[in-house]
Each structure stands twice: as C-alpha cells, then as structure tokens.
Symmetry: D2
Subunit: 264 residues, 4 copies
C-alpha cells in the first residue's frame, strides 16, 4: 500500500541529453506529487510492425544512457530485453528488466531474466487470460527470484484493437505481486496504420485513472516532448507537458484507493 | 456534474413488500451518502436463457408495485419494456423506461418509448460499438424526446463472456447524454451455467468504481437480500447488506472525479 | 442427407414484379443444379442501423408478394417476424418463419412462432455461443413444434466486425435440427459505414463454400440484380448474375460432403 | 495449383525410432492419396504454458532425428526455431524453418531465418490481423528470400479460446505466397487446462476440410499414435490411425477446390 509509482519515459532511448531532459522533468513532477518514479526507455524495438521502423540505439549506447540517468537523478531505471543473453549485461545497469508482451511465454527469456536477481516486470501477452499469468510468474519464481511485477497492457479484441479488462488487475493481484497498468500500450491499435501501429493518446489518462482507482501499484506511461515526431509509439505517448497535471490527478485517486482497498 | 445517481433494486419485482424493503433500505443508504436514488425492478424477464426461467409478476402487478414504491418513498422508478405497446401504459407509472440491450436496435420500440416523453435509458447492445450508440440515440431523438440515458453493460468477448471497455464511457458521453455503468450485467456470464447465466458478483464493485472514477452520471446495480436464492441474476447481484459501504465508497470517487473531469 | 437447399432472395421485398423476377431466376438456377430452393424476402427491416434507413413494404403488401411467388413458382417462402402478434398472420402465407438474430432470446416471440406450426428458422445471436442454441431451440420445442432450423450468421469479434466459427456448424448439428449458413450476414460489418452497415460481398462465397464442405443442410444467401442500389444490405448481397456459377459450385462440394460426413 | 501438401508429424521429436515410425506411415498414406508430404517435428518447446512442461530433445539430437527421416524417406522436413542463432545450423538440415506464432513480429528472428535461404513458414500470431501478415512477410523478403509460407492457426477470441476466420486464407493468399492451415493449433485452448493447454482434437478435421475447400496449398496437422500420453499438445493431435481416412478425404476436397478456384 505504498503510494503509486509512475514508470515513465520515452518509448525509445534517443540520446543521453534527451533521456536526461525527460527524466529530470519526471523526477520533479513525481517528487512534487508524492509519487515514486522509475525511468523507462528501450534500447531496441525488436518487434516493429515494419522492417523499416527504427530499431533504436542498441544495447551498448542504451545502457550508457540509462547509467547516466541513474547517476544524475538516482532513480531506478527499467528497460526491456528480447533475448536470454541480453539479461545479464542489461541487469548490471537496469533495476527492472521488462519482458515484452509477445515474449511472455518464452521460457528461456523468463529464466535468464529471473536469474539476474533484478526485478522483473512481465507484460501480460495480448493473447493471455489474466489467470494464466500465474504460470508465467511461476517460471520466474522457479529461479528463486520473487521480485516480480505484472503489467496489464490490453488483450486482443477483434483485429487491430485491444481492450483492457479491468477485472484483470485484481485477478493478477491475487498472485501477490504488484500490478502495473500500462496506459500507453493499452490504447495502441496494433497495425492500425498499415505499416505502423496507431494509438489513441487521449484515452491513456482514462485507462490510467480507472486502474489507479482500483488500487494498483504503478502506472506505466510513455511520454515525449513531441510525440508526433517520435521514432515509435507516437500516436499513444502522452505529451510531456501534460504529465504534471496527470500525475497530480492520479495521486489523488491513488490516495483514495489505497485508503479503501478492493478485496475480492 | 450532479452527484452520482444510484439506480438499484432487485432484478425481478417479487412483491410489494419486497420492493418496499429494498427501496426503503436504498433510500436511506443513498440519502446518508449524498447520492441520488432511482428504484429499479423488472416486471417481466422476456429473454431468459431457458424457457423454464421465471418470467416475473407481469405488467399489471409490476406497475402497482412500482407505484407503491413511488408513493411511499417519492423516488423515481425505472423498469424495462420489451414491446412497443407496453411503453405508454408503463410510462404512466415509470419515470424511466429502459430499453434492453438485445433490443437496442429495434426501431419501433425506441420510437414508442421516445413518444411517451418519459426518460429513456438505452442499454448498449452486447454487439454494439460505443460510437454506434449515436444512431440508436438518434432514433429516440427523432420523436422529440431528448431525456436520454446511455448504459454500458459490457460487450461480447469470445463465448459466454463480456468485457467492459472503459473507453466506451467517455465515447458515449461525447453524445451529450448522461452515461450509466451497469455494474451488474457487465459481470454476467451469459449462458455460463448451461441453462442460466452465471456471474461474478465480486467484480461488480470493481466495475462500478473504475467507471465512477471516470466521472459518469449513474451506476446501475442490482441488489437483493439473498441473491443466491433470487429468481434471476443471482450470481451477479450485490448483497443488500454490502450496499451501504459500496455507495459510500463510490461517492468518494464520484466527488473526486467530478472535481477533476476527464476532457477528451 | 438431402441435397443442399438454397435459401435466397432480396434483403427487402421491393415489389411483386421484383420478387418474381428474382424467384424465377433462382428457381431455374437451383433446378438446373439439383438444389432445393426457398425464396426469402423481408417485409419489414425492424432494426436498421439508422432511423432513416428504409423499412420495407409492410406486412400486408409483403404477404401478398410472398403469396404471389408461391402461386407462380410453387417454392416455399421464408420471411422474418419481429413481434409475437405477427406470427399467426404471417404463418398463413410463409412456410418458414425466421427469428432475427438480435431477437433469438425473446421468449414470447419464439413461443408465438412455434405455436403456428410453421417451420422456424432461428438465427443464432451475434452474442451467443453455439452450444447455447440448445436453450433457444428448447423454447420452440416447448410449443410442440419440432420443425426447427438453426442458422449461423457470425459472432461479435471486436467492434463492427463478425467472425464465423466453423466449429459452430457441427456443434449446432448435434442438436439434431438442420443447420443453415447465412453467408450474407456473416460478412456484414455492423455499423461499418457510420449510419449503415458495411459488408464484404466478395467473402460470401468463401463462407458458403467452407460451410457446405462440412455437410450443412442449407445456405442462406441474399441476392439482387443491382446490390449497390438496393434499399438495404447492398454491400453484402451477391449479384444475381453470379448466382448460377455459385450454386453449381456449392452443389459439387455438397455432394462430396454428404458422401463423406463429418462425425464428431 | 499443385495437389495439397500434408505437413504432419508429432508435436515434439521424441526419438529417432518414433520419428521414423510416424514419417514412414505418413509417407505411405500421402503417396497412396496423391498428396505431397512434409515431416514436422519440434526439437524444443520454448513457450510451454508451465515451466514444468517437457521441453524436448534439444537442437543437436533433434537435427539428427530430422536428418534420419530425410535420409530414409527422402521427404522434406520442417522444424520451428526460436532464436536467431539457431537459424543457420538448423537450416543445414531442415528444408523449412518455421517461425512460431508468438514470435512472428520478432524482426531479428525473421531476418536470420530469411538469410539462410531455406523456405520459411511464418505462423500468423494469435494477435495479428490477416492483412498485417504483409508486414511480416516483407521482413523475410528484405533478406532476398521469397520462399515463404503463411500459416493460419487461429486468432484470440476472448480468454483461453481461438477462432479461425476463414476469410484470412484468401486474404493472406493475396500476398502471393502459399497459405497453410494449421488444423491442430487452431483447435487448441491456450491455458485451458490450468497449467497446460487444452484442445479439441475432434474439430481438427473440421478446420482442415473447410480450409482445403477454399483451395489452400497445405494442411499442417500434428499426429501421434497415442496423443493422450504425448509430451505436449496431446488434446489436439489427431490419432495416427485416423490419418489415412482424413488424408484421402482432404484430397477429394482439394481436387474439387483446385478445379474451381475462389477468386477475390
């Protein structure tokens, strides 16, 4: 029942300066609102819709950028990994390793991530029922690592559409590990723009608020100073300038929710 | 931006005494919590899963029961109608005529209901996109009646399952008419028990809270002193004894939501 | 294991001449191909997307048109009914009363239809699991009428989209009553054109063929000489000129399927 | 418009003897029926529901088993790969590399597979619209490899359930590459048995026949002499003893379909 954590940052790590600009702003915003903060950024977009989509800065430069954010702001950093052999080197910098939704059933990746001892944030696959996360979590637990987070990011609903079932949050919470709402990818429209994904940025605060009212541990939300020109996920990232009001608002709902927990 | 309205009552009208017992309890609960209250009860269950399911007391006795609740407690009453020729007589007693979700595209029923001048609560069909409610609403508007409510009650998601897309609430709100969350039927499992519908009563407060946090006008919630022995919808009705705490909790989220409205 | 029946005609009955033109053509086409034929036409479109959609010729003129088709061609005729009090008069002319998909759980309509003694074709609701048709069928059986047909016409799949689960055909067949594939409405896109439904005419033969290969009793397919100017369901009706080749092709698959039945 | 290819074998490679027993039987069955035959077997089950599920014989033993099948029967062999570095060594034995459905958007895997020059069978993700396979195919094409197969294996439909949209077969075929129906995984019930997947073996022939009637290039079907005791996918594998009749039946529908192609 700790105060809400905000996991926020750009979809892709772009440069050290860019990361520090966003992290700096979010550190201030979260401190002012009483929220915990984790910086998020990807060094590789391994599953772009199109082969022409930008991939990112790569693991070496990515880790340097993340280390820079840690050194300057002292906040934990999260990044996603895509192959077992990335886990150990990435865990030397990243505090939280994130398992992408498409890869949430790849046993070797879950085991390699778990073995690092880092915290592991598992995104629930778009094809997975919330109760089936117990099997996914058990794969990480089998390594002895119980520093686990479970993230809702929407489930397939017809073609090119996701829907978020709010029941999934308390269902996953039964497993005993913190639950995160990914408000950015829950409003993505996979493949919705032909050769890239669309998104509904305007609904990210809607999903975040509804989820926070249920008493979750953290909200994951991608943000950028100019989402429409960002190299990926532009349509569903929240403008950095909109984050202060959003975080303040979410913290109010969080306080109320934590004081009045839902018990199933 | 009026305070939240609670639309609550038993699934079926059972008897005058039963209706008054529930209405009396809810009047107190809502008054204490600062909520507006509408009594809800059905005189006919016209679309039971099985032909052996209990149908209800019928229109004549049903209207007498509803009139009794109005006379004693002065609260508005809502009931659902299933055929055009029921609309005029039912509107002599009921303040709100409800269009069942399966029937939300039956033009004649919408027109007959609209012509009564009563308020019309339209349940969004399990097969309908939220943006398609605009066409449904326009059918009622074509009668000159603009006293319209729009209710979310879940959308088909695979077999025997519904999911509630929280985006549907702000999408429907764009139409300018109040939006209601039906927390009871959103957690139904249609056909889920072979020859009757199942339900997940424990998730009704989850759906209600998430929706209220988004600033909706009303929550629809069926309640019974002994749901497990009720003639219909037992698995998803909330126990009457659990309503006081639930209403108090929802009002807190309502206050916060109304002070901090989501703007799309 | 009789040869395939083709249930075909325009979405709406337009005029006596128009109905006879289509019926005449289809009678020839089916006779040449060895198929049984049932003429189909609606006298009222009771659930148009928009209140401005054309409703049809009405019950009186509609029945006269259907009687004219019977008198001239001797083929059975099918039409859909929307209210209990329509059943008896319509059954004086129509050989098969059809229950619309949205109305497949309206008990009074099913009972009134069943009581006429006519054959009853029940369309499976877009919200219904195939195994739940057993409860729907039992409502008609409770009237003593066992002349029942069950029609697949797609199930809700996200928004504005239907999908046809081919498993539903053998599942419904377990009930012992003939199974029909509605190849026209299975490729509709409900609400897909804003204030009317879209459709994918090109996939109607795809759905028909796949279903016929499984050994079903009948295919329902709407046809029009100029679908794009028809008053309703234009986007998914098959051109009348394309019907001869389609029926011949389906009969070949039917012969093979009936000689090699799938047994579950 | 070549005759149908049957891609069949056990879910997991179990031993050289076991593989040869199944391959030998299938070679005979397909030769007798006039079908082309590809042996299928997995050396690693990389995404089991549970960490306790059996993984398989591994890449070294797996390749030896596959080589043995090729040497003895001269048929092409297919196996699935899960990491980029597996592609080159596996392609030295396997004629067709298969991209698992969960991994169909992992760019590096698609590129590494494409670069081997082997034929690549891409399974469409459970979360992917059929028209979005064009982007997936383009990733392989970007390597200069155009020996591509596209496989339908069902799409997420609510929780623990897949549905096969038959329209996906002609939609994918528009891309110009052969289309395969995976009749085994299309009837899986992911997570449907708690810590393993369920399945509906009885519907595999249903899906296969409906797809073959549409004129596809190949059917993928897993088979085992005793599915209920197989180490994985038991509930949806077809009994080896049922394959001869099934293949003969499918070839009849294939002949008819190839003589009467669907043109969109």
């Amino acid at each position: 029942d700790l105060p809400l954590t905000i996991i926020a940052g750009p979809c892709q790590l772009e440069s050290a300066d860019h990361a520090q600009m966003i992290a700096g702003r979010m550190v201030e915003v979260c401190a002012a609102a009483g929220a915990q903060y984790v910086f998020k950024g990807s060094f590789d977009k391994a599953n772009r819709t199109s082969v022409r989509g930008e991939r990112g800065v790569g693991v070496e430069e990515g880790l340097a950028i993340l280390q820079g954010v840690k050194d300057r702001f002292g906040c934990p950093v999260l990044t996603d990994i895509h192959a077992p052999d990335q886990c150990a080197p990435v865990a030397e910098v990243a505090d939280i390793l994130q398992i992408p939704a498409f890869l949430c059933r790849q046993t070797d990746l879950l085991l390699a991530a778990g073995k690092t001892g880092a915290a592991i944030n598992i995104k629930k696959g778009q094809f997975l029922a919330p109760w089936d996360m117990a099997n996914v979590v058990a794969k990480v637990e089998s390594t002895g690592n119980t520093r686990i987070l479970q993230t809702e990011r929407g489930v397939s609903f017809g073609y090119n559409t996701l829907v978020t079932d709010m029941r999934s949050l308390p269902i996953m919470a039964r497993g005993g590990y913190p639950v995160v709402m990914d408000a950015t990818h829950a409003v993505a429209q996979p493949g919705g723009q032909g050769d890239s994904s669309g998104g509904q940025r305007e609904f990210a605060p809607v999903m975040a608020r509804a989820a926070v009212a249920l008493g979750i541990a953290a909200v994951f939300i991608e943000t950028h100073e100019a989402p429409d020109t960002a190299p990926s996920d532009g349509p569903n990232m929240v403008k950095l300038d909109d984050m202060p009001a959003l975080v303040v608002s979410l913290m109010q709902f969080d306080q109320l929710a934590k004081a009045d927990p839902i018990r199933l």
